[in-house]
């Protein structure tokens, strides 16, 4: 059983994902429309699956968006652990995992940007 098959069988839609690997193991991080169902299926199939809190930033679909946001985060001392994104015309979404979630939320909102909540994805 592989991850993609598990998602298909449980009728879960993967909205965005990234794969990291290092020294013999791989980690796949997924943004899905039905996280609970996905988790249940993966665990049933023998995967080690966990939930992680991430931020979803609403982005303009034009060049420079990533740079502008990361500059703001940098200036406020926010460390990005990983990130991945996808285009959702006419906008785009950036998924961020940060060390200090509360500070990141404050910073991003203060910069005039919008954070997307789960209802946006389900």
């Amino acid at each position: 059983m592989d991850v993609a098959k598990a998602m298909k069988e449980s009728k879960v839609n993967i909205l965005g994902f990234t794969i990291a690997e290092g020294s013999g193991y791989g980690v796949i991080r997924m943004l899905v429309d039905h996280p609970e169902r996905a988790h249940e299926k993966l665990v049933k199939e023998g995967f080690v699956a966990k939930f992680t809190d991430v931020l979803a930033v609403d982005m303009e679909d034009k060049p420079g968006g990533l740079y502008d946001l990361t500059e703001v985060l940098k200036d406020n001392g926010i460390n990005i652990e990983y990130a991945y994104g996808y285009r959702n015309r006419p906008r785009a979404v950036l998924i961020l995992r940060v060390e200090n979630i509360d500070k990141a939320v404050e910073t991003i909102l203060a910069s005039g940007r919008t954070l997307l909540d789960t209802s946006h994805f389900t």
């Binding site: 990291a20 690997e21 013999g24 991080r29 080690v48 992680t52 652990e81």
Partner: protein
Amino acid sequence: MGCWNPEIELMPKKDLEALQLKLFRSLVKSAYDHSRMYRDRMVAAGVEPDDLRSIDDIQKMPFMSKKDLRDGYPDKFFIAPRRDIIRFHASSGTTGKPTVVGYTRNDIENWSESLARSIVSAGLDENDVVQVANTYGLFTGGLGFHYAAERIGAAVVPASTGGTERQIELIKDLGVTAYAATPSYMVHLAEVAERMGVSIKNDTKLRIGLLGAEPWSEKMRDRIYDWTGVKGINCYGASELSGPLFSECGEQNGIHFWRDITYLEIIDPKTNEPVGPGERGEMVLTMLKKEAFPMIRYRIGDLSVADEEKCNCGRTHPRLRRITGRVDDMLIVRGINVFPSQVEYSLMANPEVGNEFQIVVERKGALDTMHVKVELKPEAFTDNIIELNAIRERIAFKLRNLLNVGATVELVEPGTLPRFEGKAKRVMDRREY
């Protein structure tokens, strides 16, 4: 080939057996008088020192095993007064503690004397230059060969392990004629030399290899000789016995066990009775002259065959054939003893480690590799690769420290290693010799 101690080495067998009996009786009396532990054992077995009239009465004596050394850690079974102990050595234990052994001055003397006889029988003398590439330090290999080579007046190059390229330069430049190492390291040396453009056969004076501490085959011996011109001499020993103690003579046809040093028995491990001549069985060793602590009927765990026929070299001391296996699950990795129970002990001390692990031992090229696969507990699995690597390194560091072997560790998901009904098969040994 010379003879270091012709009086003993060529003594008729029946005179040697009389000598053995004398030494044995005195040994047992000493153990009985000075070791509470040993006396209790003898009492439990219903034996008293006066019951021992002939050498066959040795079979009345109780056995000893590694467990005794472990239970007596570090020196509860020593019988010599503490001030008479002039050396400690330590080697692999079966759990978290090493096996500790001690020596009086006579113990060191007898150890060097035994090995000196052996290396002279193999063809060495005071003109030789002996490079000792066994580990110096707590292990007995380095200092064992060092003392023996020095005793016969050879020049010793105390290289210890590692630094292969520099070792090759020393072999060339110092005119080294004999090399003490593991057989796999000898092959590794030849490989590295070739990469350096050095032919051991044509560019060096190396002619004799004192090789032991791990299993090796006749095929490997021939390969070493054909490639390097080095005559491989099989050596045997263990820290519990002293250290490296015995070797083959120049005939390369079995390792001579000096009768005045050790009484060698081969028993059937199922019945504990002696096997017939030429039959394979478990080795039981009695160190006849040891003072620091008694080693009487020690079941060392090796399986082999003893040959009582007189050797072509004229020596009247039995020859041990190549070790063919172990009674337990002990491994030898690069000449170092490793017990799976040690690995388990080390791994389980890490909170993230689950219940399953697997040891994979291979020989890619000349040298052994040891790779340990460990299942983490599900809770410990994190998506942070950096953290996972740090956990893995911590586990590996602890393991390497305990084993003194450069093992690598791999973290695997819970549920991926094979499960067993009954005893778990922890070791995949893919080596061939």
